[in-house]
Amino acid sequence: MSVSAQTVDHEVVHPEIVTLENLRRVTRERAFGYGVTLVVLGLLEVLWFGGASSALKTTIELGYNSSTAMPSIAGPVRVVPLLIGLLLLAPVVSHAARQIVPQRIKFSKGVRSFLIIVGGYLISWPVALWLGVNSVGALRTLTIPVSTTGYVIGALTIVAGGLLAWRRFDRGASPLLYVGLVFFLLGFLVWVARGSNVSGLHLQLTGILAAAVAAATFLIFGSLSGTLCERSGVVNIAIEGQFMMGAMSSVMVVSAMNGTGVSLVLGVLVAGVIGALLGWVLAVMSLRYQANQIIVGIVIVAFCTAVTQFIMFQVLDTHQNLNGAFPLPVWSIPFFSHIPIVGPVVFDQNVLVYVAILGVIIANIALFRTRWGLRVRSVGEKPIASETVGVSVTRMRYGAVILGGFVAGLGGAAFTIGAGTNFTFGMTNGYGYIALAIMIFGRWRPYGALMASLLFGFAIALSANLNIYLSQLVIPQQFISMLPYIITIAAVAGLVGRIRPPAADGIPFSRE
């Protein structure tokens, strides 16, 4: 096994030596880094947003902001589901209430989650109606002062960051960082939309968040693909290429069949299969011929760029009917979709969004709870050991890379039919590389990838949706568009602290 190309660094914890002591030190270091980052963010919030004139206020639209209309239910009827929901939730929250439940029913984890889901479901509906729509049926809004908001979130962030830096606890460090960053972006939004209570340019928070989840979809697929490949020890830089080809092929399949229901399913599948095919090419090159994986990835992207450009201008420009805008169906989860802000953002999205979230859950279980996952991870950490106990390194890697390619191809479909637009050349915009940064940010874990994707999706949606406040921004439009890229650099450069990639990542394996 060759280790020749590992760049030498004295200070990095040597990846070969994984002791409990080392891991603990790394996690404590990371927690400290996160804490300092949060304190800096908090200070920035206090100085920047808190410094706004105290007279300025921002109006946020809380309400339902979707194509489906709000159901109107008379007052008394709202109370019934609320009462039933509270009744169901009572045993979960209160110990006293649990005593009333008959002894026969064991209060297991399953029962508890059942109660939470059904109870929450019943409560959310009337609460949504009450919060989102006022008595006349118009959208309810919330007006908050800008500087006070800055002070409050700034103070909270500083306290949380200080606590984290002082105590250096690992559990909860990453979520705290994510919450801190999201709060920073929210504060920024409130600051940007200052004076909207007068101007009427209300902050469409729901719309921006929904766009964030939509933008996060392909990032989730991309970073999941990266996670799968790199856990098995293969660097997949070709995600950008898999995005492009997936985006183009899905739109062509769907348009050729006029956007019927079957064609949409087929379009998504074809995108996945094309991605898997490219993954297979990467696998053959890097496993069979042991080529440099980064070079192979770069060349695959170059090839995909050329092919999509050629087909775009040679075929799709003259045959517009092959490049139509067909959106995937939107699934509104009944009642849940009416929760203000959360409803339209999470429970009123197209099918691919649910597939992405489901994919994260499945990948997490598969990687950390199954025999296959254990083998994939061991192949990525110490291939020679896996080979010794009879696990074929090459076969495991083939499987992981092809599966990763399939997932990235689905991400490609999210660009076109997922967003309901047609294909344009260059629409992937480097998001395949950002997905890799997200994978690193999420520390090679599916849930981490999900969280980081949502954060980056928020940044992307933010940079795309600030046009109406351009006059309020001191910063030109181009700099706002840079936001996702700058955050990416910051993310890989140190916000994450010391990270430990799979030990055999990117190193070809041969049995000799």
Binding site: D9, I295, I489
Partner: protein, 423 residues
């Protein structure tokens, strides 16, 4: 065992010997075969995307000869134009021989001039990235560094009006520094935080495109009165002189090509004779050994990226002061991205990069001619598909060796490891 030639051994057949020698893999053979595969894939793409050719296959069984000749002719015509548009136009040559005068000479020189004009920035940027690749540092931010160089060269070029030699030198220094500065950001981040340079440099590409877009609408850069995204023009004293402008003003090959050629020698010397060059090679080939030998890896990483970025910045300067003379939102085209594949195709050797860049320049020029002169206007991107396939073949020669059942001594089996992420 005795050493010497066994005179009694039967001599192998001459024919067998030749056939064995032909099948022995070497880089030139791999290159030719990769080009062959590229042309075949290009031909398939032409046939699949041209409706008349697709229909011609309906009569394949009744008129096989007609179908094949129709397909072959279309493909041949397209490839013929790639050649004629980039090297020699046979018709123009004949006209020149019949009537040797200035105008005809200019027409005959047109294709080769265009090829060299396109190749100039690619040579320099490709050399820069090759320095990185040879040391296992993947600077894929060529595009951003080309833009950085172009922007600074442009700023110096239109705001000053000095003697030509002084102004061009200033532009050159400014562009090199700008590119080096941008790339060194990735170097510093990699050396001190472990951020992988592939992601940082890729992101810097997008940031630079946006930054240039912003700069072009500021008063500093924009032409007075017109905010159409084009900058002021470089003053005549800041422009690189053309070789053949007295023949025809459309012949844009300029002194920049000589600078690019000089850079090939400089980089060759750098790797063969300088201490730093040796250290870079050492870090690339065996980092562990380099560290043991006392080479400071952090410093080396930053130096590598500075050199790579500096050369890319120089490429931007050559393009701006030699050809474009003013900045526009799509300045730089795809030179920075193509420089990556140029470096790979040249197998990171200076002269390899030089000829790879000429090949790419020829494919650009020929692709444009193909798009202009073929009946179905086959898009120039076809040339890029062919390029990508050729690079694929050269980057993984083991594939070509296996497809064509060549013999090798394990030389092409492994292309080395890529190291992984955060080291």
């Amino acid at each position: 065992m005795t050493i010497g030639v066994d005179v009694n051994a039967p001599r192998p057949s001459r024919l067998l010997e030749i056939s064995l020698r032909v099948r022995r893999a070497n880089m030139a053979l791999v290159l030719v075969l990769a080009l062959f595969i590229g042309l075949v894939i290009g031909a398939i793409m032409i046939i699949v995307t041209t409706p008349t050719l697709v229909h011609s296959w309906a009569t394949f069984f009744s008129h096989p000869g007609k179908t094949i000749s129709e397909n072959f002719n279309t493909v041949w015509y397209a490839y013929e134009w790639i050649f004629q548009g980039s090297m020699f136009n046979f018709h123009a040559m004949r006209v020149l021989i019949d009537h040797p005068d200035k105008a005809n000479l200019a027409t005959a020189l047109g294709p080769i001039s265009l090829t060299l004009q396109y190749a100039t920035p690619l040579v320099v940027a490709g050399l820069g990235l090759a320095i990185g690749f040879r040391s296992n540092i993947f600077d894929i931010g060529g595009q951003g560094q080309v833009i950085a160089g172009g922007v600074v060269a442009g700023l110096i070029g239109f705001s000053l009006n000095l003697t030509p030699i002084l102004q061009v030198s200033l532009e050159l220094i400014g562009a090199v520094l700008a590119g080096a500065l941008l790339a060194s950001l990735a170097g510093v981040l990699k050396a001190y935080t472990g951020a992988h340079e592939v992601i940082v440099t890729m992101m810097s590409n997008y940031i630079m495109v946006l930054l240039m877009g912003y700069l072009l609408i500021t008063n500093l850069f924009a032409r007075p009165g017109v905010k159409d995204g084009a900058s002021k023009a470089v003053t005549p004293s800041g422009q690189l002189p053309f070789f053949f402008s007295h023949l025809n003003s459309s012949l844009l090959v300029n002194v920049g090509f000589l600078i690019a050629l000089a850079m090939v020698f400089v980089v060759q010397w750098f790797f063969d004779h300088s201490k730093t060059g040796f250290e870079l090679l050492m870090v690339g080939q065996n980092g562990e050994a380099a560290r043991t030998a006392g080479i400071n890896s952090k410093r080396t990483i930053i130096i590598i990226l500075c050199l790579a970025g500096g050369l890319c910045g120089l490429a931007g300067m050559l393009e701006l002061t030699g050809v474009d003379h003013f900045l526009s939102p799509n300045f730089g085209g795809s030179y920075g991205f193509d420089a990556i594949t140029v470096a790979l195709l040249g197998r990171n050797r200076p002269w390899g990069v030089f000829f790879a860049a000429i090949f790419f320049g020829a494919m650009y020029a020929g692709g444009e001619a193909m798009q202009a002169f073929t009946p179905s206007n086959i898009q120039y991107s076809l040339a890029q598909v062919i390029q990508a396939v050729v690079v694929f073949g050269v980057a993984t020669p083991a594939l070509i060796v296996e497809i064509f059942r060549l013999t090798d001594n394990g030389r092409f089996r492994s292309s080395g490891s890529s190291g992984g992420w955060a080291k």
